[in-house]
Point group: C2
Chain length 140, copies 2
DNA sequence: AAGATTATATCTTATATAACGATATAAAAC
DNA sequence: GTTTTATATCGTTATATAAGATATAATCTT
């Protein structure tokens, strides 16, 4: 019996626990998830946020308002349809998101530095493969 | 130039974004982080929570109280030193934590099912290696 | 052009969370 | 028997979360 989803998840959560950033900012879960959606999807507006999280449009609007007040997001109006808002992360917002979802850059650098070129190649192709197949399966 | 920490983080966050569970529970960020600490470390008490997150002991105590009220945690007293509390996740708490930090089991199963045994082996050894080296670097 | 629809914003209200200082308790150490 | 350690509780303050009701402003329909 080879790799199953349980074992892979154990690796996954262990690695995150070991390498995550020390969380400084007091950012809530919702805020991070909204920023993550905006970073990973093309054009995201208020309605998309509401739909994705199953909350009402006014709640989504207030979330976005608060996130903008913190300086993590900016609003742009859609040129083609001025009713629509297009949300984008500020550079500061990108940093905050990174510190809350990525692996700690410095620690990761150290880990990679301690590897041979072959090992790094091995890891790269594994992650690349897992991402590719994930895209195939989650064709949303 | 091979794999650097930026590229690996791109893979990492993409995979998480694609494969994460649809977040149902309204759990806050702090709650998840505290549960994660309790799951991954040996014996965790109130003081450990306070120290790890840089909050006061009373705040930590209240956090834990609320988490227990939700049914995610249980408190046990240390037999050797009855002042000390030893925190443990309930099965429900484990499920909630899983849904908020792991990759979605069903989606992951599908992804793995679409792979050859060789590919799975490749991914397993890559994750195993990354975890091992992370433990070495983060000798906390 | 008038009315309907769509996308977002604001106001109000209710509840939950986060954090801390001050204080209390109870076990263990000295 | 006092001090220290580990945790708990109370009171308070600030902020976050969520939604209903309502408003605005652009676009679509006829």
């Amino acid at each position: 019996m080879g790799l199953d989803e349980k074992l892979l998840n154990e690796y996954w959560t262990d690695i995150y626990f070991l390498l995550h950033y020390p969380h400084k900012e007091k950012v809530t879960h919702q805020v991070i998830r909204i920023m993550q959606l905006i970073e990973k999807k093309e054009t995201v507006g208020i309605g998309d946020v509401a739909e994705y999280f199953g909350i009402s449009h006014n709640t989504a609007s207030e979330h976005v308002k608060r996130i903008i007040e913190k300086g993590f997001l900016v609003k742009n109006r859609d040129k083609a349809d001025e009713r629509k808002v297009i949300l984008a992360l500020t550079t500061f917002g990108q940093k905050v998101l990174q510190r809350n979802t990525s692996l700690d850059g410095e620690k990761l650098k150290q880990v990679l530095a301690g590897m041979t070129e072959e090992e790094r190649q091995h890891i790269e192709s594994a992650f690349q493969l897992l991402r590719e197949r994930s895209i195939d399966v989650c064709s949303v």
